[in-house]
Amino acid sequence: MGSSRIAQALRSPVGVVASVGLLAVIVLAIAAPLIWSGDASRIDILHASQGSSSAHWLGTDALGRDILYRVLVATRLSVVLAVLAAAIGAAIGIPIGAVPALFGGRVGRLVTGLINLAVAFPALLVAIFVASIIGVGAHGAVVGIAVAIAPYFARLSQTLSSSVAGSEYLAAARMIGVRRFRLLTRHVLPNIAEPLLITSTISIGDALLSLAGLSFLGLGVQPPRYDWGRMLNEGLNRIYVNPEVALGPAVAITIGALTFALFGEVLAKAAGAGGARRWLRGELPASTVAAGACDGDDVLAVEDLTISFPGGAVPVRSVSLRVAPGEIVGIVGESGSGKTLTAMAVADLLPAAAHVSAAKLCLFGSDPRALSASQRRRLLGRSLAVVYQDPMSALNPALRVGRQVGEVSEVHHGISKRAARDRAVERLRSVRIGSADARARQFPHEFSGGMRQRAVIAMGLMAEPKLIVADEPTTALDVTVQQQILRLLRDVTVSRSSAAILISHDVAVVSQLCVRVVVMYAGRVVEELDVDTLVAGPAHPYTVALVASVPTMESKREQPLASIPGRAPTPYDDIPGCPFAPRCPRASERCRAEMPPLEQHSPTHRAACWHPVNVLEKAAV
């Protein structure tokens, strides 16, 4: 966990209480015996066994010693023993728990079984048992508690290390030939240290409580030494006469145990609070509705779309996009180019923290932002279908496929469950799922990857969509299945004369299916062109490099592939000029200073570049 996250957690109310408490306990443990040990051990028979008074706030014990001083001085022994017990318990338990991850096979199974067995025993019984064997006294109590809590550490470390055991970095280290001890100390432990540390802190509190319990039973600290448990034991005899005598050590035990437990919780909270927080902090401005009349017969018309997140990220910057009825438009770009966010903004599927502004946003002739929530839902539900990259996550694993596909009609067209199912079967058949009737009764996990994607497409078709948004629909699929799904998408759009947006990182895939291609880089549209121009030679250097860097069946094996040096800017970077300039071989001063506008090269070709690749160069390439 980062130090900033800990600092943030400590500033919360619980964090302040816990850290002040912990600091107090530590200071007391160090200072109290130095200052008050004289007062705590001064015997005063004349004032023995007294209740609280102005001289002795918590009264005196059987030898007339002041109980308040004794409680304060006992802090050191109580806390030190508790820390010791927790530390020994962790030192025994954690390595044992890591054994299955390092050895595997029979040894691993044996150790796992033993841990399960040990966890089943009641901890306090084990502690009492071990403490009595080793011998009454502080040593026995500490070892007893250490042995009792070790199985819990072992179990935790086993669970945590098993996730590391499956990691590729452990496999890589094994392959290099790193020895087991080093695997444990350098690869397994550092990656599970965080939760273990938290548990250790919490378990100090537990150990404090258990030690007090053992001392109370007379198995722990023996006179003349004393800890809180011992004092509680001594005070209990007088609980009906002077309850404050027992109350002092009791309160100390409670506060001590609570402090460690609370501090552990604070650490856990700091560890659990991950990056998402940054998005939510700050003000959440609502979407800006700008005036823009929706006319024309475009299925989708977006102008100057900008998406920003609180915290300064602007992943999409003044994007304009137009989709005519029946047209298949491709959006190409690498990860972080804003291609998915652009489409999700259209489908009203952005996270709540996103701020969308656009000069014009028209979907099927109306501005979804001007509609009420229910109107918007109806418009999107009936006319828009979304196909995602991972079909498994788009399907509910607990629902039969037929029911799931039919649900769209039930909700948006209000037809009966039975009619919806029949329609679902018919749609499944239309996406070429064999024996659709039987398949509709199956669950998503019984489908192959390709069939799942077909089912998702069938789901989208239930509502006769006018626009299909397919976001990397074939990336998670095998190459042979990829072609089938692409063909299906094309057939579906043609037969229903619906439009489609195909989002992909693969220029080749897009070029096969689309008529028009939009190339995005760092949140901006850098080029927009028809497929023929894309194949003949694009004008923007980024598009040129993107096309050239993909190996094809015709690439010359003797020559290196074209590559793009450097890395793309992040959504946080505010670049005044062309975002591609730092990686561009043609970049000039102007490119770095001034953002080039999308300039018309031909009726179907626009590019945002000050130095576009011209026709003669294309021929040379």
Partner: protein, 334 residues
């Protein structure tokens, strides 16, 4: 001279009815200073084979030979190579680097295990390996979380090289990278092969990438190598119908999606079909031509040694003929 050879390597998982034979009696040989491409789809066993060759997955049976010398196996069936002469680079550079270890430490670890160099020279060695993969020496101080995907993959390559392997296995090393970074990593692999003379096995689902880097190509389907041969020959004259399906499936830039081979649903790997496991999906098999009963009845592995490209197909030469026929057709149509 062969650098690495797998003889009848079989890898299985689970027992009884859940038994899955991921790699089924595979023979492949990697000649010295050359590159063998292994291509196949998910579930074809290509990654399992790669993992078995470096000793991460136990063999059920079979032998692995390094420099013509048979490697011992541990009691559980893992291949043992005390000198770690075979190294692998993993697909996902976000998972294959320890997040709590700086780049320098990760590379140093590989150097230490190999031994032989003093503490002082190690820093220089780390810098040298970083330089080899075109990274700045100051990257050594950074944690993996501060690097981009492409940089991480370079670090993973440097770490594998630091163990001074004779054979490098690259398992889908570009598929989790962005397009613009992929080509740089592929170029790097080419360069390393030329400069260091390392033999490589390049595993990928992408036939175009495999073809670009490999001297030989082995095509895997359902745990078997169904065709193997020189890269250009496999690509230009595929013998197995599955290889042809893969070839058709490579999206061609500006081409159409009309190239039509419907393979149907892949078979259940727990219960592979009898005879040729590809027959239920085969476009030239018994479904298209009922007279080809051999596909259902006989195992095409018999007699494969006599066929071109050692193809596991009863009608391998016929496939080649048919392709010639098709090309002639296409030419006439034009």
């Amino acid at each position: 001279m062969t650098a690495l050879e797998a003889r009848s390597v079989t890898v299985g998982f689970g027992r009884g009815r859940r038994r899955l034979v991921a790699v089924d009696c595979v023979d492949v040989a990697l000649p010295e200073a050359s590159t063998l491409g292994i291509v196949g789809e998910s579930g074809s066993g290509k990654s399992t084979l790669a993992r078995a060759l470096v000793g991460l997955v136990p063999l059920a049976s079979g032998d692995v030979l390094l420099d013509g010398e048979q490697l011992r196996t541990a009691r559980d069936g893992r291949v043992l190579d005390p000198r770690r002469r075979v190294q692998m680079i993993f697909q996902d550079p976000f998972a294959s680097l320890n997040p709590r270890m700086s780049v320098g430490e990760a590379i140093r670890e590989a150097l230490t295990v190999r031994g032989g160099s003093g503490r002082g020279t190690r820093a220089a060695e780390v810098a040298r390996y970083l330089d080899l993969v075109h990274l700045d020496p100051e990257v050594a101080q950074r944690m993996p979380s501060r690097l981009s995907g492409g940089q991480r993959q370079r670090v993973a390559i440097a770490r594998a090289l630091a163990a001074r392997p004779e054979v490098l296995i690259a398992d889908e090393i570009t598929s989790s990278l962005d397009v613009s970074v992929q080509s740089a990593v592929l170029n790097l692999m080419r360069e390393l092969r030329r400069e260091l003379g390392i033999s490589m096995i390049f595993v990928s689902h992408n036939l175009a990438t495999v073809r670009y880097l490999s001297d030989e190509i082995a095509v895997m389907y359902l745990g078997r190598v169904v065709e193997v041969g020189p890269a250009e020959c496999v690509v230009s004259a595929p013998q197995h119908p599955y290889t042809r399906a893969l070839l058709y499936a490579v999206p061609s830039f500006g081409g159409s999606v009309l190239a039509d081979v419907e393979l149907g649903e892949p078979p259940d790997p727990h219960d592979p079909p009898a005879g040729c496991p590809f027959h239920p999906c085969c476009p030239v098999g018994p479904h298209a031509r009922p007279e080809r009963t051999a596909c259902i009845e006989c195992d095409p592995r018999d007699g494969a040694d006599q066929r071109p490209h050692r193809a596991f197909c009863h009608f391998a030469t016929a496939v080649a003929d048919q392709r010639a026929e098709e090309t002639a057709h296409a030419a006439r149509d034009r």
